[in-house]
């Protein structure tokens, strides 16, 4: 998924705007204390779970365009593997699930300012996110793989030398690709989203696309595409749910319910529905 | 009818009018002549409230418009009186300044209807009458941009007359016109003079001034240098300065 290029620009912009607006009130530092939350220790009395239970709803923030984890269906309903799991978690907690589309570039602000209670949308774990949020245990593995057209001469990763590879801009896939040994021998064309990349590949703009295996398999299965997945992967990454730094009780509760679902087979059932097998890694 | 005493005016450091005195009697036609930058137009603009005079006294139709207090500061009449005075005076501009978005008829009826509250029908009848006098009845529905300069100026005279002013001011009414069109305007002004209209005309048309004016005022550098009958100013007894000016003027 995308990293936050916009975030830093935004934080600076807001800080500047607010300082200008409040210049008369005196000087102050505004944005730093709120954007990251790194220095905040969990509150002495953590009422995060009680608040959710009192309000009887959990607001789940998502980008809503990441099939099959969380996306928008033909009728504009938000569906997906993450959504099914979250719905079951909320049912077991006796609360309502509210699906709130957000701008993925400003997800940390939405979370920390209380617009949403958690980010749950196939979010890859990385160091920055681990620092900015209170992450759940990883619940799924995702591999970064190469997809080529079915008719391609490219049959393995070593065949990619001298070829053009498409990758989503600002994604973890791009970071991984750029850090790999392969990078020196290939031409990379970055583009806004994976669907466009796959379309471009079909049209011959590129020879392969480097993307999340979860997305690739879902596209191939649901659209009957004649694609070939090259054997092997560059690096595996893991998905987790993001909570506010201070919301330890809420995070632990959701984690406990997930473990319970893993134990009684519900998680496997949902995974089967979307992926044809139990791909979850919850303990 | 109009009395101006010790009028002065300056823009920042530049003195434009100095100690101007002159009077206009009822039915009198006064021509104001003089070189460019002599303050003729500013004088007219002060009397018509387009500029604020810096000192002195102005009375229009027996009503005081402004005077100077003991401290030498100008004191103007209250807004209501100023408005009353404004309606007694009419002003015709060098550039006509017709309203381009209104028909000729509407240009003439708008002020009587809106400012005086005259019924539109009545205002229209009067406007048509004035247009007839200007020989422009057929242009009632035309827009200013469709008229020649001379026609536009005649409309603007009709517009000023529609408010039935007691005194009419002209600020170089023919300066923006082609020479062949000035005649039609001068003819209209002459007719008004014959009807006994009180008028003050700032002009560069010397022969016209001589012809139509009862009194001619010669201004230079913000002061009235000489005033008198046309025969006096355009005759041999005029001061050297006036003679010099007229001589140079006729060479053009």
């Amino acid at each position: 998924m995308k990293t936050n290029l916009l975030k830093r620009i935004f934080a600076g912009f807001t800080a500047a705007a607010l300082i200008t607006a409040c210049a008369a009130c005196g000087n102050g530092n505004t944005a730093q204390t709120t954007t990251s939350g790194t220095t905040e220790a969990p509150a002495a009395t953590d009422d995060s779970l009680r608040k959710i239970l009192d309000a009887k709803k959990l607001v789940l923030g998502l980008d809503a365009s990441f099939p099959p984890m969380g996306f928008t269906d033909e009728n504009n309903e938000i569906v997906g593997f993450d959504i099914d799991v979250a719905q079951e978690v909320c049912d077991r907690m006796g609360i309502e699930l509210v699906k709130q589309p957000i701008n993925w570039d400003t997800k940390e602000e939405d979370l920390n300012l209380g617009k949403i209670d958690c980010i749950w949308n196939g979010m890859s774990i990385n160091a920055a996110r681990a620092e900015a949020m209170n992450l759940s245990e990883p619940y799924m593995k995702n591999e970064m793989i190469f997809v080529v057209p079915g008719s391609s001469e490219v049959k393995s990763m070593s065949d990619l030398k001298g070829r053009t590879v498409g990758v989503q801009t600002g994604s973890t896939a791009q970071e991984i690709l750029e850090a790999s040994d392969l990078y020196a021998d290939i031409t990379v064309t970055p583009l806004e989203d994976n669907v466009t990349l796959l379309n471009q590949m079909e049209l011959g703009f590129s020879d392969a696309v480097f993307l999340d295996s979860v997305v690739a398999y879902y596209f191939i299965a649901s659209n009957n595409k004649d694609y070939f997945v090259l054997p092997g992967n560059l690096e595996a990454e893991e998905y987790a749910i993001g909570f506010r730094k201070a919301d330890q009780a809420l995070r632990d509760k959701v984690q406990a319910v997930l473990s319970e679902m893993k134990a009684d087979g519900k998680l496997a059932e949902i995974s089967n529905k979307w992926f044809g097998s139990d791909v979850t890694t919850v303990k | 009818m109009l009395e101006v005493r010790n009028l002065s005016k300056s823009f920042d450091d530049l003195t434009v009018l100095k100690d101007i005195n002159f009077t206009v009697d009822k039915g009198e036609v006064v021509a104001v002549i003089g070189p460019s930058g002599s303050g003729k137009s500013t004088l007219l603009r002060c009397i018509n409230q387009l500029e604020k005079a810096g000192g002195g006294q102005i009375d229009v139709c027996g009503i005081n418009m402004m005077k100077t207090n003991e401290k030498g500061k100008p004191v103007f009449a209250d807004a209501k009186t100023l408005r009353q005075i404004r309606l007694k005076t009419g002003l015709v501009f060098q550039n006509f300044n017709l309203f381009p978005h209104m028909t000729v008829l509407r240009n003439i009826t708008e002020a009587p209807a809106v400012v005086l509250g005259k019924p539109r029908k009545e205002a229209k009848e009067r406007a048509m009458e004035l247009l007839g006098k200007m020989g422009l009845e057929s242009k009632a529905d035309a827009y200013p941009s469709e008229l020649s300069g001379g026609q536009q100026q005649r409309v603007s005279i009709a517009r000023a007359l529609a408010l039935d002013p007691e005194i009419l001011f002209f600020d170089e009414p023919t300066s923006a016109l082609d020479p062949e069109l000035t005649g039609e305007i001068l003819k209209v002004i002459k007719e008004l003079a014959n009807e006994g209209m009180t008028m003050v005309i700032v002009t560069h048309e010397m022969s016209f001034a001589r012809d139509v004016a009862d009194k001619v005022v010669f201004m230079e550098n913000g002061v009235v240098v000489e005033e008198g009958t046309p025969d006096h100013l355009f005759g041999d007894n005029a001061s050297e300065r006036v003679k010099q000016f007229l001589q140079r003027f006729s060479q053009h």
């Binding site: 912009f13 505004t30 596209f219 | 469709e146 408010l163």
Partner: protein, 251 residues
Amino acid sequence: MTGEQIETLFGLMLEYTIPTLKIFGYTLLYSIPLGMIVALLKMCRFKPVSWITNVYILIMRGTPLLLQLIVAQYSVPYIVKSDICPGFLRDMLGGVDIRSEAYTFNMMLIAFVLNYAAYFAEIFRGGIESIPKGQYEAAVALGFGRIQTFFRIILPQVIRRVLPASSNEIITLVKDTSLASAIPYMEIMYIAKKQVPTYASLLPLFMAGLFYFAFAMVLTLLLSLIEKSLDPMWRRSVKTFGKGIFSRGDA
């Protein structure tokens, strides 16, 4: 994509033209009068007012509307959280439910209105300043009051002069409403973007393009008609035509 899918998609987009029209309509409704006020403030002879107005216009025109939309969304919670927020303001804003749809919509609208008002203000100012001084003087000499002069003499001329430039802004606004999708607010572009991965096809984006195009086309026709109707000579020719009189050849 199958015909049935296209039909479903079309229906969905048609449904979400209403939010798009809502942004468009409300933005115009508020930004045009506000633009007029801002234009007058900018021309204010009391310099500090004019300066502040200048700064406002500079910021609005000098930063991307997309950023303004995002800043507006986060302004309230950031102000409430900041150390320098005065108590009364915190009390006032603390009660705002930032999760509500009304909040999202209103803050978005504020950003749109403030942005467009700045552009309209500059257009209007240009229009007002282009009216020759003689028009004011003629009005004064004829005894019109300040208000009468503005509304009867100046404004009708200003409207005619600013209409072409304003039409440009209005057409631009049609397309700028799509920036709301980034907040996100559910309108045509949001739907299109979210349906791209769903169908694994770029068709939703093309379809959205057609919607904007159709909207802009209708507006273009409408605006050119308004422009013509404000041309007095065109209006008269229509009237004359209606009466069946062709004889006024000299007019």
